[in-house]
């Protein structure tokens, strides 16, 4: 039986080229396994091998993202591997982000299964854990000996098309998809052990983390509002009459972005709500009751604000259902920043 083929992605440091001073080298491909790839090859045994290694500077990748992705994708495509493997990046932030980004690109654009690895606090972990399999490692390269067999095991499963187990079984970071598996001990015994750990102040891992209740520090105040561009965002589902993008009333799969250049007032004839979470009668009569375009225009004319941004954004999430809104918000924020907006007035029903 022939071995499964893998392509391995590592940074300039693990490629043996150099440290930070070499972080700007462009991607290059070499035959066979290098550095951490040797440990992976060992873990693969006779079943798989790394046919080529792509070495890429972390700065070069992150600063030339589109070009870097294109270059690396082409290098991967040439070899048609069964699985693509990146890192592990341990706690190296830019390396982790690069591993996540290139793994996601290979998975989505080439349709090749991917595995990467990093420390849970690596910024790449939160960015990519729901997109690609990330094997959880410790925060330093000393963990390579333990990380390699875990990455190899998952890579082999993917190569063979086997079903992937729960995160706790296959050692990847929880990716937001709950999956059943059989523990070694029954639940009550696990509960007693968890309780003893909690009593004794020892580390334990809850089997079901509660939804995210984290906080974010306030941004500094706007110094001069009369020079600021303010954008309107609403979770109240205000859309142009007829809901042209067909935004769903609940569990929406998209958000709305609408141009309000020249719009002075929202009327019953021009705007309505697509939200399924409240009685729509009042918003349909006058959408300014949810999205105050009329008064914002007046403040704009009076010079209280510099400018009302010419687009508004709308979602239909319920007040308490925050999880689904997260991805929309990231994208909305990206566009607002790109458009030079300074501050946001967000209305919720």
């Amino acid at each position: 039986m022939s071995k499964y083929k893998l392509v391995h992605y590592i940074n300039q440091f693990y490629g043996g080229i150099g440290g930070e001073e070499k972080a700007d080298i462009p991607a290059e491909k070499r035959a066979g396994a290098i550095g951490p790839g040797l440990a992976l090859n060992q873990a693969f045994g006779d079943e798989a091998e790394i046919v080529s290694t792509i070495i890429c500077g972390d700065s070069w990748f992150n600063e030339n993202l589109e070009e870097a992705k294109k270059t690396v994708l082409e290098m991967v495509r040439e070899d048609q591997p069964d699985v693509f493997i990146a890192g592990p990046a341990f706690n190296a932030g830019r390396y982790g982000v690069a591993c996540g980004a290139i793994s996601e690109a290979v998975k989505n654009e080439l349709g090749i299964p991917v595995v990467t690895g990093m420390y849970i606090e690596n910024p790449g972990a939160d960015m990519y854990r729901e997109k690609v399999y990330i094997i959880e490692t410790k925060n330093s390269a000393a963990d390579m000996r333990k990380a390699a067999p875990k990455m190899a095991k998952l890579a082999l499963k993917l190569a063979k098309g086997e079903e992937i187990g729960a995160s706790a079984e296959d050692n990847y970071l929880p990716n937001g998809i709950r999956k059943n598996f059989f523990e070694k001990k029954r639940g009550s015994e696990r509960a007693v052990e968890m309780l003893l750990a909690k009593i004794n102040g020892k580390a334990y891992t809850t089997e079901y983390p509660m939804p995210d209740f984290d906080r974010v520090d306030p941004q500094p105040a706007i110094k001069d509002l009369s020079k600021a561009t303010v954008a309107l965002v609403t979770s109240g589902g205000i859309v142009p009459k007829g809901n042209p993008d067909r935004i769903e009333s609940s569990s929406a799969t998209k958000f709305g972005e609408y141009d309000i250049t020249g719009v002075e007032d929202l009327t019953a004839e021009t705007y309505e709500t697509a939200h399924g979470g409240y009685d729509p009668v009042y918003a349909n009569q006058d959408a300014d009751r949810v999205l105050p375009v009329d008064v914002m225009r007046e403040f704009e004319r009076e010079g209280i604000i510099g400018k009302l941004h010419n687009k508004f954004y709308t979602t239909t999430g319920n007040g308490t259902a925050v999880a689904s809104a997260k991805k929309f918000a990231e994208e909305i924020a990206r566009r607002l920043i790109a458009d030079g907006v300074d501050a946001i007035l967000l209305t919720s029903t």
Partner: protein, 428 residues
């Protein structure tokens, strides 16, 4: 309270024209055993069938699972307040027919769930697939009686049958004896115990209306305030299930008799912790009841000077609110708490698992995602009837395929995502 459990290992069941336990095999005369069941005029027909582990058998729709036990020493009898007179049980000696169960099957309501497969992939998910089951299949009269009355008739028939079978173990010498002793408050401060963390078990009981209730010494638990019980009373059948829906995460009478949290706390008692008591609290529909009952849980925790507690749940939906309330209020009293629940994360595993949440619930044990799909292949023999499989919760359009296989959510399998931590199934 001190209770000895004497286990009689049952390795098989067969029918004959007499009743006995011979070399670990339960011999029953089905015609004789069914007579008292049929005395209830609500029950139109009833018969027994046998299902052994590994056989190609599907039992459905399952109502309750009950382990036969008999009280051989000490006050009271098994299932006090239900089929025996009210008397405090939990001390003396009780014989347990280990490795078997009486399973009651037959429709009470039209959408009833509950499958036990004795082999195949489904058998990995139900703890009752590993038991020798004496199945009591009942059909109710169609005489206009209410579903409540049917539920009661079926519940009583199951409990009485299990007690009758249990009688056969009265004079036997157990294969193994285990002793359980619960401390009084004073004893919990003895020299051996006083330095260990004080832990209680908070058992939540479904109490939502006549078809999904729990009874303690015969009293409907929704009419009770949160209270305390000795763990050994639970072993003697003080708590029984009156719940005929929610197969995967209802606590059958078997679960109560063999409560795994109680067993595992006893294992650590006097070693790493001091198991000072068991609190039982209800899951009512009325919100003020929920607030009051959870207040009371926290109050009793205070009375007991607890350091820590384990809370187990029953059901999904509004009981999630009770679970979170109990957890929050215990943690607010400084009682370190672990909760046991199960999840409804959707078939794709992407939905939020619980209907309620709080940061205080930072130590959770899960019995798995009840929405996950499973394919159950056809079995050679069906005990009960498959008519209902297409209608059971977790089944969906085309659940029952022409070849007899069933594609359904795990929630159809009896005991699959139990929230007392009875199983090894979990999710991440």
């Amino acid at each position: 309270m001190k209770l000895e459990l004497g286990y009689i290992d049952i390795k098989g069941i067969r029918f004959d024209d007499y009743n006995a336990i011979e070399d670990g095999v339960l011999v029953v005369n089905p015609d004789e055993l069914v007579k008292p069941v049929l005395e209830d005029e609500l029950i139109k027909s009833a018969h027994f069938e046998i299902a052994a582990p590994g056989e190609s058998v599907r039992i459905t729709p399952v109502k309750d699972v009950i382990e036969p036990r008999v009280k051989v020493e000490g006050p009271g009898a098994i299932f006090p307040g239900m089929i025996a007179k009210v008397d405090t049980v939990g001390s003396g000696r009780t014989h347990v027919m280990r490795g078997m169960a009486v399973v009651t099957a037959g429709p009470i309501v039209g959408f009833q769930e509950g499958i036990i497969d004795m082999t195949g992939p489904g058998a990995d998910y139900s703890p009752f697939s590993q038991l020798h089951n004496l199945v009591l299949v009942m059909e109710m009269q169609d005489n206009g009686a209410t579903a409540h009355e049917y539920e009661k008739a079926a519940r009583m028939a199951g409990l009485a049958t299990a007690a009758r079978v249990g009688e056969l173990a009265r004079e036997l010498v157990p294969d193994e004896v285990e002793v359980f002793e619960t401390p009084t408050i004073a004893q919990s401060y003895s020299d051996e115990l006083k330095d260990l963390p004080r832990v209680a078990y908070v058992m939540m009981l479904q109490s939502q209306g006549l078809l999904h209730d729990t009874y303690c010494y015969g009293v409907d638990v929704k009419r009770t305030l949160t209270t305390m019980i000795s763990a050994t009373e639970v072993m003697d059948g003080a708590i029984v299930s009156g719940n005929c829906v929610s197969a995967c995460d209802k606590n059958t009478t078997y679960h109560h008799l063999n409560n795994p949290v109680i067993q595992d706390l006893f294992k650590q008692h006097g070693k790493t912790l001091n198991y000072v008591g068991t609190i039982i609290t209800n899951e009512n529909v009325y919100l003020a009841d929920k607030l009051r009952s959870s207040d009371w849980t926290a109050k009793l925790a205070d009375f007991l000077s607890l350091d820590a507690a384990i809370v187990s749940q029953e059901g999904f939906g509004n009981p999630d609110t009770d679970l979170i309330l109990n957890c929050k209020k215990l943690e607010a009293k400084g009682v370190k708490t672990v909760i046991i629940t199960d999840e409804y994360a959707g078939q794709d595993g992407k939905s939020q698992s619980l209907a309620d949440a709080d940061v205080a619930a930072d130590a959770v044990v899960t019995g798995g995602n009840a929405n996950e799909l499973i394919l159950l292949p056809p079995m050679d023999r069906v005990i009960g009837c498959l008519d209902y499989v297409d209608k059971i919760a977790g089944g969906h359009d085309g659940s029952l395929r022409p070849d007899g296989s069933i594609e359904a959510e795990l929630q159809v399998i009896t005991g699959s995502t139990n929230e007392m931590g009875f199983n090894r199934l979990s999710a991440r």
